[in-house]
């Protein structure tokens, strides 16, 4: 998010304003009140005496509420302002806002306090791609209540605004003629209700609370969330701040689907406050040792929405785990396929991986029984549909033009390219997909053996996984460059770019030991390791661009999984080096890692360079410091006991993580950096 904006959120409802608190959406300013992928307010501009107050400070009190302190000033430095403005805003199915104006002067003042209001009811895709509306906008005033609305057939969305004081209400806003005596104040409160697709049901099931600004239940919930996570003690002070920031941001991104108990992590603000299979699953993995309840909710919700039939428009095939759900107008009228969309070739394997990882960490075998049917369907999808041409590898290609070109985590159009920069033709079998298949089959073999009582399936899956590993190490290896191909393209050619994807192969365990050693050298080389993290594409490659979304930037989550993979293969020092770099970058981002940042070498800048449109907070960037902590302490589970095997770099000193939840109940882990003579 831009540094010029202030965002508060709660589930899929969020408000993006400028630093005055105003919403003034333009083609370049994505301000608004958003719910269910629709902008319910695009204009909310305050003037006092004809002047837009000047911001003095912004107090972001919690992820769901904020205070703006402002002065009514003409801008000259020689005249003190006698009028200050405080705006307190809290998001809650819309938002509530109190505007308080204080007259510090010795004389009374007469003022026009005006709030300009409007909504374009834009679908998020329209906001992003600057598209025009099809239906009709309307507004009306009834008994002091302003209703802004949009209708297209039965698709109706409304914003209902009430004020606590009587004023002049028009279809474009509110006007109050105010007299404020000397050294006194005046205030007005607004209740803004966004009425989405379930508004009539929610009126019955969840009547609106009288004052979200006074309600302390969310503060208590946040305190309980943080208190329920392990407690961190660290000698490197920034780590405490980064850890707390991650926990709070994860709390902010919690998203209740209503179809399964609990909340799963939404992908990120502002464009991705929605259910995303891959994002929720990877974030669940990162945060499992800290807040395992996110994983359970994610597994159950995605299971309910698992694809049941073939549908080319939605890239849906039986057994597949979804990519994305959207609820805006363009999806409702099938201009976009996200209802849900299944164009993710990795989510199905990641769901299986998470099911096993969750069971092994928590000991919760019930969920493995509960989701056995879905797990078997997911395994069947890998062989029946994932491997489209029966060459033994999972590959993807969209079925219709509305689908995604790339259905791996690097899902921008230009991410899968040869070393000379030429795009690889589809279908594309990216290397990490094969790693995920290998890992998912081995993990499910254990579940089949130990939980489902199906040794025949277990043996079959283990055999298939080992057969895949043998073939993969032959077919994807590029001997002349000493790393695995990024992908096999539609003509089964090796896509020979050097990318961070090889790090995911270490996480999955598919790489042969000697080939892994060669990959580690590449990962830690100047071409891939920027000094702040692992670049998505090496600087030596034809498509490399340090500010290219998936072709040169550093993604913290990507680096965290690479570090975890290095640990798996025993490269503790290398893993620790990457972990340290990520944490130092997080410190420079004031504890909150963005989705991605520039791939410029650290030797060039003493800070990580921002990527212009990065989401923040973004779920798997928020989860990166958590997986880094797990990596540094070497935390794992054998199903009953927690394994602790720390490898901490010198500057981080000592790390203590207390009350780690798992199959063992709660346990503590300690680690300290070893001095050179102790190593």
């Amino acid at each position: 998010m831009s540094l010029d904006t202030v965002s508060i959120l709660d589930g899929s409802t969020f408000v993006v304003s400028d630093r005055r608190g105003d919403l003034d959406a333009t083609p370049t300013e994505n301000h608004g009140l958003f719910l269910e992928d629709t902008r319910f307010l695009s204009r909310w501009v305050l003037t006092v005496g004809g002047i837009r107050p000047k911001t003095l400070s912004v107090d972001e009190q919690a992820y769901f509420k904020v205070q703006f302190f402002e002065a009514v000033t003409t801008g000259t430095v020689y005249v003190d302002s006698h009028l200050s403005v405080m705006r307190r805003r809290c998001v809650s199915g819309g938002f509530e806002e109190t505007i308080e104006i204080e007259n510090h002067g010795k004389e009374p003042v007469d003022l026009d306090v005006k709030l300009d209001v409007g909504s374009d009811f834009a679908d998020l895709f329209e906001v992003k791609d600057k598209l025009a509306k099809v239906g009709q906008l309307y507004s009306n005033v009834d008994d002091g209540t302003l209703t802004l609305g949009y209708r297209r057939d039965s698709f109706v969305r409304e914003t209902v605004i009430r004020s606590s004081r009587k004023g002049e209400v028009k279809e474009d806003g509110f006007l109050f003629k105010v007299n404020i005596p000397a050294q006194s104040s005046w205030s007005v409160s607004f209740d803004v209700v966004a009425r989405g697709r379930r508004a009539d049901i929610e009126d019955l099931e969840k009547p609106r609370v009288s004052s979200a600004l006074q309600d302390t239940s969310r503060e208590r919930n946040l305190q309980e969330w943080v208190a329920g996570a392990p407690r961190l003690i660290a000698t490197w002070d920034p780590l405490i701040k980064i850890y707390r920031r991650s926990l709070v941001d994860l709390a902010a991104l919690r998203f209740e689907t209503g179809i399964a108990p609990g909340a799963l992590p939404a992908a990120g603000l502002p464009w991705f406050m929605a259910v995303f299979g891959r994002d929720s699953l990877l974030t669940s993995f990162q945060s499992l040792a800290f807040v395992p309840e996110l994983t359970a909710a994610t597994l159950r919700a995605l299971a309910i929405l698992q694809a049941r039939k073939e549908d080319p428009f939605r890239d849906s095939e039986p057994g597949k785990i979804l990519h994305e759900v959207r609820l805006g107008e363009m999806t409702a009228f099938e201009a976009r396929p996200q209802s849900p969309y299944y164009g993710a070739a990795d989510a199905t394997m990641l769901w299986l991986i998470m099911l096993e990882e969750y069971e092994r960490w928590t000991g919760d075998t019930d969920i493995v029984h509960e989701l056995e049917r879905e797990a078997r369907a997911a395994l069947a999808w890998i062989d029946n549909y994932g491997d489209r041409d029966k060459d033994g590898y999972v590959e993807y290609e969209r079925r219709q033009d509305t689908g995604l070109d790339n259905q791996c985590w690097k899902d921008s159009w230009d991410s899968i390219a040869f070393a000379d920069g030429t795009l690889a033709p589809t279908p594309r079998a990216t290397c990490e997909l094969q790693g995920y298949v290998y890992d998912a089959k081995h993990r499910c073999a254990r579940l089949a053996r130990e939980v489902w009582d199906d040794p025949a399936l277990a043996d079959k899956l283990d055999k298939e996984a080992e057969d895949l590993k043998r073939r993969f190490n032959k077919d994807f290896w590029i001997p002349e460059r000493g790393f695995f191909a990024l992908a096999l393209d539609g003509q089964k050619r090796k896509v020979d770019s050097l990318t961070s994807n090889i790090g995911h192969l270490l996480w999955s365990g598919i790489a042969d030991e000697e080939k892994a050693a060669s990959c580690v050298k590449h990962l830690m080389s100047d071409e891939l390791f920027s000094g702040w993290g692992i670049r998505t594409m090496a600087s030596s490659e034809g498509s490399y661009n340090p500010i290219g979304y998936h072709v040169g930037t550093v993604w913290p989550h990507d680096s965290s999984f690479v570090a975890w993979g290095l640990r798996r293969y025993g490269y503790k020092a290398e893993a620790a080096r990457i972990c340290r770099a990520i944490l130092e970058a997080a410190d420079l981002f004031d504890g909150r890692l963005p989705e991605a940042f520039g791939g410029y070498p650290r030797t060039k800048t003493s800070y990580p360079v921002e990527y212009p449109t990065a989401c923040s907070p973004q779920a798997w960037a928020t989860g990166a410091p958590l997986l880094v902590l797990r990596t540094l302490l070497g935390l794992d589970s054998d199903g009953k006991h927690m394994i602790i095997d720390p490898a901490i770099p010198e500057p981080l000193g000592r790390i203590e993580l207390l009350n780690i939840p798992g199959a063992w109940g709660r346990m503590d882990a300690f680690g300290r950096a070893l001095a050179a003579h102790e190593d």
């Binding site: 057939d153 039965s154 698709f155 109706v156 697709r197 379930r198 009539d200 049901i201 099931e205 209503g258 179809i259 399964a260 159950r300 309910i304 929405l305 049941r308 039939k309 039986p318 759900v325 609820l327 805006g328 107008e329 999806t331 409702a332 099938e334 209802s339 849900p340 049917r373």
Partner: protein
């Protein structure tokens, strides 16, 4: 439990039958049209039936804007997400169960035209 002989519900004759997409799903789903309860769907694994009793307990309710919406949802012809976004239908109560049923009927519904169980819809 199942209404093997068929009943007149909302002006139509309904039967039970096989819904392969509902394997492993059990429960009762109340169906309302325009706010009025018209039937209860009894789901017992892959066997599903619509009965006229609307007084017994139900795990969830699918609220349909009109009879045509109900017909299309039960036949698996209308994507339940699209129906919800367009305020044509909503699920209340146990939404996980309701969603499973609606998605499950899309795979193969005994209420679909030509499903082989007579003049159901």
């Amino acid at each position: 439990m199942a209404n093997e002989s068929g009943e007149q519900i909302a002006g139509q004759k309904w039967h039970g039958g096989n819904a392969p997409g509902l394997a492993g799903v059990y429960g009762r789903l109340r169906v309302t049209v325009g706010g009025k309860p018209v039937a209860t769907m009894v789901v017992e694994g892959t066997y599903v039936a619509l009965i006229p009793d609307v007084s017994g307990p139900a795990d969830a309710t699918v609220m349909c804007a009109d009879e045509d919406v109900m017909r299309k949802l039960l036949a698996g012809e209308l994507n339940p997400f699209i129906a919800s976004m367009r305020r044509l239908a909503r699920i209340a109560g146990d939404r996980g169960f309701g969603t499973r049923v609606m998605l499950g009927l899309q795979v193969g519904s005994p209420f679909a035209p030509g499903a082989g169980i007579g003049d159901t819809i």
